[in-house]
Assembly symmetry: C2
Homo-oligomer: 173 residues x 2
């Protein structure tokens, strides 16, 4: 069984979601939002993200870490803020020796909802359904769980593909 930590980074709210994955069966472990007060100076904000992600890793001991890959942003100013938050979260993971995988938003939506054009409500609905939760988690937590689910599916597909190649004796050398 693999434990996967998904992160949806943001400069004001960073979502996290922890799931287990075993033979393509998913289990919900934990999720939530790291809220970063506007009143803190930038260094303190980044420290809060770094330390919160470090604590999550130390507490739950995931083996894998998945984060949304970002290409676009509304503006250069928001991209800079997002980049700083994202940098703090990724450094926390690599410092703990976790492999980091990045997934495009389109790929996450495809993996969770079945279409790359899904909206936030559809993601929340499918995250709730796939993880058999009594209610949909808030948006940041749902987005973080979605990237973890995308990672689990991608890994399961890689293993299935490797297995089918092997069973047919066509393993690439």
């Amino acid at each position: 069984m693999a434990l996967i930590l998904g992160i949806d980074p943001g400069s004001r709210k960073t979502g996290y979601g922890l799931i287990s994955s075993l033979n393509n069966k998913l289990g919900y472990i934990s999720s939530g939002t790291i809220r970063i007060p506007d009143t803190l100076a930038l260094p303190e904000r980044l420290k809060l993200i770094f330390q919160s992600v470090t604590e999550l890793i130390e507490k739950h001991q995931p083996q894998e870490f998945a984060i949304e890959q970002i290409f676009m942003s509304r503006s250069a100013a928001s991209a800079l803020k997002l980049g700083q938050a994202r940098g703090a979260a990724i450094v926390a993971a690599v410092q703990q020796g976790l492999p980091v995988e990045e997934y495009e938003a389109r790929k996450i939506k495809q993996a969770v909802v079945g279409t790359g054009a899904a909206d936030k409500i559809q993601i929340q609905h499918m995250v709730r359904s796939l993880l058999k939760l009594p209610a949909a988690p808030p948006e940041d937590a749902s987005d973080a769980l979605a990237v973890a689910i995308c990672h689990a599916h991608t890994q399961a597909n890689l293993i299935r593909m490797a297995g089918s190649r092997y069973s047919r004796g066509r393993l690439a050398h």
Copy 2:
């Protein structure tokens, strides 16, 4: 005497500069460039910045940390990359308990050259002159030394202002 570490963050090259400051007298300690190979994946790139800055702090034990504040960028994509690099460097400093100060490019140029519209060559020339170096350090290292010099001047001015208020018996309560 205060040791100041200045950082000029970048996603491909991150400059660093260490100076000492005592009674407004500056001394050169060390400077250089952390080169981040294009071949590394993003998590490894950010880890390299984080660990290199952490090693500089552990080796030289500066008491203060100064970094350029950025408002503008050519594009959202470059702002995101710069933000990630900047986030990794700032997290390294706050994790070591260092106070982090940010300075606008305009203010750094003003402090080092005397005009906010100075170009890179003028900065290199003045960094060389102020620190009595035999040659101008490369651009990234010069920019990092410049932000450290700006910090030293700002701190010296704050102390001078506080002192003059105190000596005139007009210390604000």
